[in-house]
Amino acid sequence: MLKIHNLHASVANRPILKGVDLEVRGGEVHAIMGPNGSGKSTLASVLAGREGYVVTDGTVEYLGQDLLAMAPEDRARAGVFLAFQYPVEIPGVNNAYLLKAALNAIRKQRGEPELDAFEFLAMVRERMKLMQMDESFLNRGVNEGFSGGEKKRNEILQMAMLEPRLALLDETDSGLDIDALRVVANGVNSLRDPARSIVMVTHYQRLLDYVEPDVVHVLSDGRILLSGGKGLALELEKRGYDWVRHEARVA
């Protein structure tokens, strides 16, 4: 699904990623953990194609394609989805309108017929139940006046609608209370699928209590220092990140 090789990237001429290697196979859920400033969110942004993130070396192969050569919208249409850490507000743009436009752009790419308003409404209503969202969200401006938790739910709702092949969740757990975390985690779990890979970027272990990863990576200073199973996350929770760095130095 996704093969990252020796990825280097800079933001404002400052190197952030310094040789990331990562392979994610279909159906796998990966967690990328690491201390603040380690490059976790940068990795997610580079994969989604955000401007200002300059790849200086390395390759990213997604379903056999050169992902880095694609425009952000083409990546999305090819099935890459980024759930934002800080979803932006777009005043006056109807939430449902954006979602329908996005869905139809992606369906068009997949060679599926566009949904009309009724089909779309039926689909979105069903998925909103899953996210325990009130229907009034549809008619509000995109993220306009949403609370932190509402924004995150809305991101996962979009994911549920767009049915990506590769979902990147950037700190989706941050700013959520425990109830909202459960709802969001439940939404993510329901989207686990042998044909779908999920990469979760997170600072804390607690999301992983609800969404169990197959692989956990520790990203530090722009490189993946250690990879392991679910147990690694628990160990990180107990011992912090310093020992990983220390071991990496020893090795």
Binding site: R50, E73, P87, V88, I90, A101, A102
Partner: protein, 482 residues
């Protein structure tokens, strides 16, 4: 075509008293302006004496006026003696012969705007005889309006058939002394529209479909007068989203609205004249005076405008709130892309007690466009309990454009409540990225964000116009990003 009156056809080729001659091809008088030209215009239109006198008074006044220079606009000097002030409606020989001869770029634009096929030919100025049955459609509308007692006709017809109404109301809101361009218009106006809605009548249709089917080439000095008698209602739609072919650079129109007691006039404009090329060459100068008076108690006038065209726009649709409890509204979207300049806004003059006004202005600047909002809220000592709310937002795209806001307030009554809110924002890169990361193209994302910004105004437009306005924004913003 129903729009070409027989006497105008007859004029073609006729010798003018002053010794100049139109040749058969041209039905336009030679450039220049003096009293003789005005007498000629009035005579050609067979006007009664009061009209000629009024035109002449305006002209004499105009001679002592200077063009306004206070606007935030750069205008190349205009030689008013180089303009031809009378042009009969064109015969059908001068346009392209078929759609095949029309600029493909123009056709592509119609396609994007969703202009119906049968309308494209007319808009592109194709010289075809009624290929579509506009005449019969127009006739149906005319009958329906006549049943309701609504008068809706070319201005020159009203001068012939309803001189008492014209004499009573013409210039009663925009006097011939008003300003340089309005005064010039008063002297030389060619034609325009006239509407009278009788007491207690609700116009059975938007006065738009008719207008668009019947859109005559009314020339560069258009004059419109709308009178809503007591307790009546009318919604009037002016313009068209499709770009119009027009060879006149200067347009100086005047629109006057009169709302008597309990009457309501809703006036919507979509203006999309040629804005000039990307370097700012060519393009229409749109110098318009639009004003309505809420003359009676509880009357209401709403202006809604979407201004995307013209090289230069100078336009301030205003409301004079004379009647008690009357309401004035102004909703505006103005776009300046490439080298366009817009200086537009409104004036709300509160005279009567408990008068209320609302101003919502959305300015969008892109490319090297310059967009200014200029608005006056004036509350006279007599206007006890007057209220105004103004919201004025600017959206910038790129770093070479400009947005300017000039709000003026003159409050002469201590009971007045006046609120003003203003914001300036840029289309943020993260908004664009958010949309693109959902599979939406950059261009569609820009349109979506801009339309969201304009929403408060678009929702004031009649339904079908609102959809067209959104498409229009998309076309007008092409190439603004990326």
């Amino acid at each position: 075509m129903s729009t070409t009156s027989p006497d105008l056809d007859a004029i073609v080729g006729q010798k003018y008293r002053h010794g100049f001659v139109t040749d058969i091809e041209a039905d336009t008088v030679p450039p220049g302006l003096d009293e003789d030209v005005i007498r000629l215009i009035s005579r050609k239109k067979g006007e009664p004496q009061f009209m000629l006198d009024w035109r002449l008074r305006a002209f004499r006044h105009w001679l002592g006026m200077r063009p306004p220079e206070w606007a935030h606009l750069r205008i190349a000097p205009i030689d008013y003696q180089q303009i031809s002030y009378y042009s009969a409606p064109r015969t059908k020989q001068d346009g392209p012969k078929s759609l095949d001869e029309v600029d493909p770029k123009l056709l592509a634009t119609y396609e994007k705007l969703g202009v119906p096929l049968h309308e494209r030919a007319r808009l592109a100025g194709v010289a075809v005889d009624a290929v579509f049955d506009s005449v019969s459609v127009a006739t149906t509308f005319k009958e329906k309006l006549a049943q309701a007692g609504v008068i809706f006709c070319p201005f020159s017809d009203a001068v012939q058939n309803h001189p008492e109404l014209v004499e009573r109301y013409l210039g009663s809101v925009v006097p011939y002394t008003d300003n340089f361009f309005a005064t010039l218009n008063s002297a030389v106006f060619s034609d325009g529209s006239f509407v009278y809605v009788p007491r207690g009548v609700r116009s059975p249709m938007e006065l738009s479909t008719y207008f668009r089917i019947n859109a005559a080439k009314t020339g560069q000095f258009e004059r419109t007068l709308i009178i809503a008698d007591e307790g009546s209602y009318v919604s009037y739609l002016e313009g068209c989203t499709a770009p119009m072919r027009d060879e006149n650079q200067l347009h100086a129109a005047v629109v006057e609205l009169v709302a008597l007691a309990d009457a309501q006039i809703k006036y919507s404009t979509v203006q999309n004249w040629y804005p000039g090329d990307e370097e700012g060459r060519g393009g229409i100068y749109n110098f318009v005076t639009k004003r309505g008076e809420c003359r009676g108690a509880n009357s209401r006038i709403s202006w809604t405008q979407v201004e995307t065209g013209s090289a230069i726009t100078w336009k301030y649709p205003s409301c004079v709130l004379t009647g008690e409890n009357s309401v004035g509204e102004f909703y505006s979207v103005a776009l300046a892309n490439h080298c366009q300049q817009a200086d537009t806004g409104t004036k709300m003059i509160h005279i009567g007690r408990n008068t209320r006004s609302t101003i919502v202005s959305k300015g969008i600047s892109a490319g090297r466009g310059q967009n200014a909002y200029r608005g006056l809220v004036k509350i006279l000592p007599s206007a006890d309990g007057a209220r105004n709310y103004t919201q004025c937002d600017s959206l910038l795209m790129g770093d070479r454009c400009g947005a300017h806001t000039f709000p003026y307030m003159e409050i002469k009554n201590p009971t007045a409540v006046v609120e003003h809110e203003a914001t300036t924002s840029k289309i943020a890169d993260d908004q664009l990225f958010y949309c693109r990361s959902r599979g939406i193209s950059e261009e569609d994302a820009v349109n979506m964000i801009v339309n969201g910004f304009c929403k408060a105004v678009f929702k004031e437009l009649p339904m079908e116009f609102a959809v067209e306005a959104q498409n229009l924004m998309a076309v007008s913003l092409e190439g603004a990003v990326g």
